[in-house]
Amino acid sequence: MLEKTLAGLAQGLAAGEFSSVELTQSYLDRIKAEDGALNSFITVTEEQALSQAQAADQRRAAGEAGPFTGLPIAHKDIFCTEGVRTSCGSRMLDNFISPYNATVIENFNRAGAVSLGKTNMDEFAMGSSNESSFYGPARNPWNTECVPGGSSGGSAAAIAGGLVPGATGTDTGGSIRQPAALCGITGLKPTYGRVSRYGMIAYASSLDQGGPMARTAEDNAIMLNVMAGFDPKDSTSIDKAVPDYTLTLNDSLKGLKIGLPKEYFSDEIDPQITAQVQAAIKEFEALGATVKEVSLPNSHLAIPAYYIIAPAEASSNLSRFDGVRYGYRCNDPVDLEDMYKRSRGEGFGEEVKRRIMVGTYALSEGFYDAYYKKALQIRRLIQQDFVNVLAEVDIIMGPTTPHPAFKLGEKTSDPVAMYMEDIFTISLNLAGMPGMSIPCGFANGLPVGLQLIGNYFAEERLLNAAHQFQQATDWHRQTPAR
């Protein structure tokens, strides 16, 4: 049963083939046996999982089960979970037991989901390889010498490794789509404001967005049905009705207009990736879609703009970690300044400190106009690029990443090379639109991701296209050798 998708497991539970407790126990056993090699979990919540599974079985027996009742998933350790350590991959929060639930967690609890635990991630979601985690890197199940991507690397690795059928992630510059691509699974970054950010520890507030990760588009739809919706506790969440994303999965793709941005098919991309992406686009044509070349002329400005805006917001968002009320506090501070300096100096890792310093600098008096204000102007240009293209086509397609998974340690000494891995994903967060990554082949035995980008609130269309592709192909069914 562990090879099934969430949709398959839901059927099995509904048909009484197995109970949620049995299912949950099987996954817990497998995590215990196999996560030593992957390090995809920071915390496994065995006791809570089993009691949630028991409650789900009772709910089913009472005839009150919903579509998600009894399904086991995991949560990126960025979502505050009541009574459970919520570390955000940082020493700073290693001792933080959240006293409250994020809205996303609350939504899954209400749906009767079972949470197996909290997955590994780059510290405060800052990274593209999971190597900045205080708990050590998660590893790519296709090759454990390779990174799973990041920052939602633990969720991607756990799903690809068969330790959990679905998991939550968050995406600030590609943190759902990039690890999904590198681990050969399906992940969706919804429209900014579609999923509540309440209780999701902030990295860059205007870019952060939670979303589903699973093996298939159908499973993404099932999860998004639970996650999406207006939340009065998040002023940036949008009050718009949530459709049932599973209902449109089987719509025809006839007449679907696909745009291929020429900027996404340059020589700097691994040729094997380009070839797999082009083959996938042929498949969409076979399904009835039409293809045309488009242009996103400001794409090259996305990384510089992002690395001003995101660190600027982060430098402020992370000020609350001061050792005063919760989290890490240094030993024996001599005075207030010493407490601040050492608590933050010892509690944060390299990459986090780098971004706090960059952001602090960018917002400083005399530099604000040259950096932050300029970056906001570029952000508007990039957004306009997407608006223009999506007025002409329904979905923009291209590679999710320029390279397949790289070796652990390969890029840690060169932060800019690491930042470049997000070149195709980052601009979408600046624009606020939804994007997906779905498996579309292999390069040197490592998965390749195809990125699908749609207009604001076009999640249905993206999931529909991805699902139709997955009905016609079996890249998403490939699993690494166990």
Partner: protein, 485 residues
């Protein structure tokens, strides 16, 4: 050369919302530390602010009351700095697009003229918590109950030229915000506090001198003293050939002096930027006009009405119009007594004296406006004298009942029976022969003053109850008869 002070003020008025500006926690004062701080106020990881629209209503009302430009799109910014009682490491405020723009108030000067003082802006922001140093030896306690309480920061133009003008301005703003019901105005609890920017220059010079900012002063008297002291300090320093350092200073009420807190060089770079967790606040004409229609009568308009309707003096009208509760009390009393001048005298005299001495708010006065009105009626119909009335007032203050009840119980009714008064007059004349002789031998135009002695004796004999007019008339009649005989 003559010196001139230049003063600008920043007033922080806590808005009287029930819950905080970005969370649902209560804003009530005086609870046990940290019992009114929710997850958002504690800045737990992942928490987000949600703006309390009631704070918006109050800020816009204030803008309308000072005839200010209203910010139809206002934006919250983050002011970043580290302090233990600032849980998020930034204060959410409004720098670039405040809710209230340029406006003005008129203040009354001692010479009877009025002066217009510009208000540069007023913006919404959240208050910080409190650091408690005294309770914990060698440690600091943090109380976050106040964290997130909505503040309206009201920034004036540097239009004031003396401590007296500054206090008149602060009092005017205080009376406006309390009249609007948007701030309880309680200065000792910190609901209304003031930062004073002071510089000096030679009169006639256009350039401003270097200024200092004295923070968080919380009484009218301290504001006046702090500014006066600071002006003197700056003049002394400059006259001794020194220079003024631009710095933040602290007023020590115990020593009545200001001292340096930090200089400009040590000042923070606050790295303001728009708060990405909050959307811009956008309001329209309909919202503003609807609020305008709810504006209560404001002190300036009420003052004009009091002069017109009750023929009060300029000064009495200003004092009695400043606060809604005081104005209401006065008008109720005046209407019952049907005598505005008498009511004004009693409210500003005996009542104010008792309220001050007992540190009692007018809304909690044991003598209500109805009771005072009842007392004044008894003065007017000659049941009691003004002097006795003070005695009755004391008894009412002590909870002994209404004026009529007190007069009855204590037998304080004025004696108007001519026979009884005449008997007392005759007795006093008979018992004070030397003074009667003096009266008789005095020039007629000096006699008037001498009657006072006999008046005092008769009133004493009657225990103040004799009708003074009748006593005076009878005395004059009888003494003059002796003199002319």
């Amino acid at each position: 050369m003559e010196w001139e002070a230049v003063i600008g003020l920043e007033i922080h008025a806590q808005l009287a919302t029930k819950s905080k500006i970005f969370s649902g926690a209560s804003t009530a004062f005086g609870a046990e530390p940290n019992t009114q701080a929710c997850a958002v106020d504690l800045a737990l990881p992942g928490t987000l602010p949600v703006f309390n629209a009631e704070a918006l209503r109050m800020a816009v009302l204030f803008g309308l009351a000072i005839d200010a430009e209203i910010g139809y799109t206002s934006v919250f910014d983050r002011k970043n700095y580290f302090y233990p009682d600032l849980p998020k490491g930034y204060q959410t405020s409004q720098l670039f697009h405040p809710i209230v723009g340029i406006g003005h108030v008129d203040i009354e000067l001692e010479d009877g003229t009025t002066k217009r003082v510009g208000v540069t802006r007023a913006h919404l922001e959240e208050d910080a918590g409190k650091s408690l140093h005294e309770e914990f030896p060698s440690m600091t306690g943090i109380d976050l109950n106040r964290a997130g309480t909505p503040l309206l920061e009201i920034v004036s133009e540097p239009d004031m030229r003396s401590a007296e003008e500054a206090v008149a301005y602060v009092k005017k703003i205080h009376s406006i915000v309390t009249n609007l019901g948007i701030c309880d105005g309680n200065m000792s609890e910190g609901s209304f506090r003031c930062d004073c920017n002071v510089s000096v220059r030679y009169k006639g010079e256009e350039k401003f001198g270097n200024r200092t900012e004295t923070k968080n002063i919380n009484s009218f008297r301290f504001i006046e003293k702090a500014i006066k002291g600071e002006i003197e300090r700056q003049i002394d320093l400059l006259e001794d050939g020194g220079t003024i350092t631009q710095e933040t200073r602290l007023y020590d009420a115990n020593k009545d002096e200001t001292r340096s807190m930090r200089s400009k060089e040590e000042a923070n770079d606050y790295r303001y930027f728009p708060c990405p967790d909050l959307l811009p606040i956008v309001i329209d004409d309909e919202y503003v006009e609807k609020l305008r229609s709810t504006l209560p009568e404001l002190p300036d308009a009420r003052k004009a009405r009091f002069i017109e309707q009750y023929q009060l003096s300029e000064y009495d009208a200003m004092v009695l119009s400043a606060y809604r509760d005081l104005s209401h009390y006065f008008e109720t009393t005046a209407n019952i007594a049907d005598d505005a001048k008498l009511a004004a005298n009693w409210v500003m005299g005996e009542l104010s004296k008792h309220l001050n001495q007992n540190d009692t708010d007018i809304t909690a006065s044991p003598v209500t406006a109805e009771m005072l009105g009842g007392l004044l009626l008894r003065i007017k119909d000659n049941t009691i004298t003004g002097k006795i009335a003070k005695q009755v007032f004391e008894a009412m203050w002590a909870g002994e009942g209404s004026a009529d009840e007190v007069i009855e119980a204590k037998g304080l009714k004025q004696v108007t029976d001519t026979g009884a008064i005449e008997a007392m007059v005759d007795e006093v004349i008979a018992a004070n022969q030397p003074q009667v002789d003096q009266y008789v031998s005095a020039e007629p135009d000096k006699r008037g003053k001498m009657i006072g002695f006999f008046m005092g004796k008769v009133m004493q004999a009657s225990q103040g109850k004799a009708n003074p007019g009748q006593v005076q008339g009878l005395l004059k009649q009888k003494l003059d008869a002796l003199a002319n005989s």
